[in-house]
Amino acid sequence: MPLTFDEARHLLSRTGFGGTPDEIRGLIAMDRAAAVSQILNVPSNKTQTAPPRWVHRLPPLPRERRQWSERDRRAFREERKEESLELKGWWYREMIASRSPLLERMTLFWHNHFTSSLQKVKWPPYLYWQNLLLRLHALGSFRDLLIAIAKNPAMILYLDTQTNRKDHPNENFARELFELFTLGEGHYTERDIKEAARAFSGWHIDHRTGAFRIDLFQHDDGKKLVFGKSGAFDGDDIIALTIEQPQTARYVVEKLWREFISDQPDPVEVDRLAALFRAERYEIVPLLRALLLTDHFWRPEQRGALIKSPVELMVGTIRLFGLPLDDPLPLIRYGRKLGQDLFDPPNVKGWSGGTRWITSSTLLERTQLLHRSLRGHETGHAASMKGMQNGSESGWLTTEPIDVVQAVLLPLPPVYPSAPADERAQSVLQFVSDPVYQLK
């Protein structure tokens, strides 16, 4: 059965940053399976935006640092601050330009799953490398991603594996591996953590090359007891043991359900999808296909049942309205105020999301941001709305009938009563100001 306009809109808004009327209509002729296949067909995970010029630099070595004056140190911090902004701006630009919105959304999903922050890692190139790693595996194999992330420089610094030594194991990575990356709270013991931490001892990065290596002098090759199994496990063994736990698949499926369907995962369906995920050897695309083809995803009551994250709201609005972007700095600032600072999640659990995106403070910020963007303040261009006002803009906002514009912008009927508006620009502003615009 071919999709309706609203179903096609739902699919685009849940798997990307929303669709223009043409993108929506492009899916209408298809049935669910074909439309989902089209969404999942991401031809390349290469980025389109040129990265900042410094992304291949390596950090200064400790012995250099020791000779620094206070002034050198200050200059160093200032440079990193600049680079951090450039890195954030780079990703915003990529999300806005991307022809594969699903790839961006999944990269963001994994960034929020395997969190690392500039604040702790303090070396922006490492976060850039991590972003490339996340996009490389974003639609690949969860197992490969997990193995690679454990050896990723930003992660090794973020969760202190770098200082995990034989004599003094640091538990940070082992704990979050179980609690946040694979099993979820309550599915392991404190003992499992302590033992697993030993297996990751000596897993360091060599700052001279930026490469992962196992420091055999710092690695504890003794026997460990994890999940009731014992052996002279190293980190790879621990990851393999974790992947074997059926709970890992359930945990990941549940999180993806919350990302794409609703905040109330259906336990029966989660079990079914988790079994499929394991049978597919943790390949992400087959799982996403099955997830997007569940009845739950398509139920009319799911439309507009999730709240757009700050990044989705900003990137989606810019893409949909075709707003030009000279300088991503305002997006970075607003992202921070709205509670989603890219590459700087609040803590290792990432952004809680859902209804927590909206507080009295962030709701007011969102409204202000939307008004300012449409008036061109935040992008440096007053073009968009003015264009609409004098009818010179050729985009869909001026050419489509008003009920189509509403159906594109809003997943549900507006809450505010519609005031009579003479001008197209005024009607559009009304739709965007409606609380329903915050939903996806």
Binding site: Q162, N170, R175, E185, G339, S361, T362
Partner: protein
């Protein structure tokens, strides 16, 4: 006296240490008490404000209130231990981290109470689970949806003319206000808030979509709070006290402005961190404690000056303390019990509770001596004069650390 006892200095009588039967009246008496207070609750007691200070990330209690005489301390902390000559001595066994020196005038004025060994049974070492336990007042294995303050205000609503039950400053979730349909307002800058709130139009349409219902609820909160704040904020008096420019200083400055303007609110929450010092702890922890102490000192001065200090009770909390033994990264891993402080014009200063033994450990961590719910019982029963039946069920006795 055995070695264990001498090391564990017995401080002021810890309510928690007294046998349960003596402290917990029969439940029937509690019900009676609840009824009497319920009638009054709206009237007067919420004029007293609770200032909650969240120490995000798990503060290292051992390096905050330092057992500087304990050899087990110096053994466990060869690199991170605070040397005896740097500690600000509070007693012959305990002292404050030197960065907390700005708090010494409060200590000398007997307005600073330190409760040792605060924690809970079968401690959870996950940040997220443990802070959830603290903020909902639950057992270790019990998952509650409603924050402990939401539970209190559901039972004892704040007066209708209050701007909000709570004002949240700084980052962080609604935490103790979560769940329920309670009114807690997140503010960064009150003036900015008012300017923008003008664009909010509350809608009271019934909706089944929970995401939308949440947004509409937040809109109503904004609308109500803006109306109440408007009048008050027109007459914010000059604080006359300089606040430090860091984040916690700024949060406490906004709190001081709201309180000086007598905005009616029962709780103000600020947050500070991150105290998750797994690596390179010394300079980081020093800075955090110093900022906290500077901020609180300015706050106290401002509130004394504006005649509000006796209406305020400042209380810290954190998801856990940290492991007794330092790790190889010059840091500390997640632990269990830790001291917390109460400061205010009606606080009876001193050391409360029993400092946990540093040798009688459980999985390398301190055994708690005061249940964290005793802090809540103190706030609910002694500070607000409410019955705490629902939340603490008489099992967690209030501490006798307030004068009024």
């Amino acid at each position: 006296m055995g070695e264990g006892v001498s090391r564990r200095e017995i401080l002021k009588v810890a309510a928690a240490a007294v046998p349960l039967v003596l402290l917990a009246p029969p439940w029937i008496e509690h019900l009676w008490a609840a009824r009497t207070f319920e009638a009054q609750a709206g009237a007067g007691m919420f004029q007293r404000v609770l200032i909650l200070v969240e120490l995000q990330g798990g503060n290292d209690g051992l390096n905050t209130v330092v057992p500087y005489e304990d050899r087990a301390y110096s053994r466990a902390r060869p690199k991170l231990g605070i040397p005896r000559d740097q500690v600000r001595q509070l007693s012959s066994h305990f002292g404050l981290h030197p960065a907390l020196t700005p708090l010494m005038p409060s200590w000398d004025a007997k307005e600073l109470a330190i409760v040792a060994g605060v924690g809970y049974p079968r401690p959870n070492r996950s940040h997220f689970r443990s802070i959830e336990i603290w903020e909902t007042g639950s057992e270790s294995e019990q998952v509650l949806d409603e924050g402990w303050l939401s539970q209190v205000f559901r039972r004892f609503p704040v007066p209708a003319d209050f701007a909000a039950e709570g004002i949240l400053l700084g980052k962080g979730d609604a935490g103790p206000f979560s769940g329920g349909q309670r009114r807690a307002i997140a503010l960064r800058d009150p003036e900015e808030f008012l300017r923008r709130a003008g664009s909010v139009h509350p809608v009271s349409a019934p909706v089944s979509n929970r995401a939308l219902a949440h947004i509409l609820e937040v809109q109503r909160e904004i609308w109500k709070a803006a109306g109440d704040l408007q009048a008050r904020m027109r007459q914010v008096p000059e604080l006359g006290i300089e606040f430090p420019a860091h984040k916690i200083g700024k949060q406490l400055q906004v709190a001081a402005q709201l309180l000086a303007a007598r905005v009616p609110v029962a709780v103000v929450k600020v947050s500070h961190g991150s105290f998750d010092t797994h690596a390179g702890q010394l300079p980081h922890h020093h800075r955090l404690l110093e900022e906290l102490a500077e901020g609180l000192t300015a706050f106290r001065s401002a509130m004394v000056r504006h005649g509000r200090w006796r209406d305020l009770l400042v209380m810290t909390y954190s998801e856990f303390g940290r492991r007794v033994e330092e790790n190889a990264s010059h840091g500390t891993d997640h632990g269990t019990a830790a001291p917390h402080v109460m400061i205010g014009g009606q606080v009876k200063g001193g050391l409360y509770g029993t400092y946990p033994s540093l040798t009688d450990l459980e999985d390398g961590d301190l055994k708690y001596t005061v249940d964290y719910r005793s802090l809540y019982a103190t706030v609910i029963e002694r500070w607000w004069g409410l019955s705490a039946t629902m939340l603490v069920q008489g099992r967690y006795p209030a501490l006798d650390c307030l004068t009024g």
